[in-house]
Amino acid sequence: MQVLDTIDKHLLNDFQQEFPLQSRPYQHLGQRLGISEEEVISRVGRLQDEGYISRVGAVFTPGKVGASVLAAMEVAPQEIENVASIINEFDGVNHNYEREHAFNLWFVVTAPDEASLAAILASMREKTGLDIMELPLLEPFHLDLGFELQWN
């Protein structure tokens, strides 16, 4: 894997909110970064392939659209990869992490509405044979604006 250069770092840090709403957004990024539109596009593609960029898209305010829940499971350590892969087969699963706790598998399930969400969770319980603790968001205290990446 290549080391990130200064332009890559700016590309990752400087455009985490209010992506330009214009026909050629990467032209605008290129002007800001002092490189061509083509080079911006190729860098974004590479950073995505290498896993630095999850996507160029949006983060939504919880509760404002669709339905979501933070879910946690207690999984036997030797089963965790298997259970995680069953969970990941469902559309709308993200942030699936193993964590150091008796509840050792944590993920977020999203769906267009509450009924679909409930159906997904029921199907997950059935396919894994395990219980799922549901921790819906009750009140957000934080406005997610991305955050200033510190490179050192």
Partner: protein, 170 residues
């Protein structure tokens, strides 16, 4: 749920935005073609979603684990209900706290009602941040737990919208 007209358009657009725009010179035009509308309709709709605060932010979504923020810890606290909103707002103001939410307790196994995500470049650094929270907000006697992530199995977008193929949720 049957959607039609503007609602259907909006949910399909949200589907695109949660999965990611095509990385091309003209991403909005590409989406418009897929949705059967004009580019300006897509641009206006995104602007509207921003104004309605449905979009929290949009742009390049970075995987923090890849850029050196390896020690991603979920810190959970059991705060008296009367003060959880106050503590939550104060906690959210710290720079290293990237998310801060109130969630339900699930007794007896899960006594915690306040969640925050703390991103640090190392375990020690992250633990130091948590200690800073404890001292600043006088949480020395508050039951808490720190759940470090040891492995990521997936980090993709949400699926609030309808997928580009129009099939909704699998």
């Amino acid at each position: 749920m049957e959607l039609a007209g503007d609602d259907l358009f909006r949910m399909r657009l949200i589907g695109w935005l949660s999965r990611g725009l095509p990385v091309s010179a003209t991403p909005y035009e590409d989406i418009a073609r897929n949705l059967g509308c004009n580019e300006v309709d897509v641009l206006n709709a995104i602007q509207e979603l921003r104004e309605q605060n449905i979009i929290k932010r949009d742009g390049i979504i970075v995987r923090h684990g890849k850029v050196g923020y390896h020690a991603n810890a979920m810190c959970v606290w059991d705060i008296p209900d009367a003060s959880v909103a106050d503590i939550g707002r104060k906690m959210a103001a710290f720079e290293f706290v990237t998310l801060c939410y109130r969630r339900p307790r699930k007794l007896p196994k899960w006594p915690y009602n306040l969640f925050c995500m703390v991103h640090g470049k190392s375990r020690d650094k992250t633990l130091g941040f948590v200690e800073e929270l404890v001292q600043a907000l006088e949480l020395e006697d508050t039951p808490r737990d720190i759940l470090f992530s040891t492995r990521g199995f997936k980090q993709l977008g949400a699926n609030y919208g309808i997928s580009p193929t129009g099939t909704g949720v699998a």
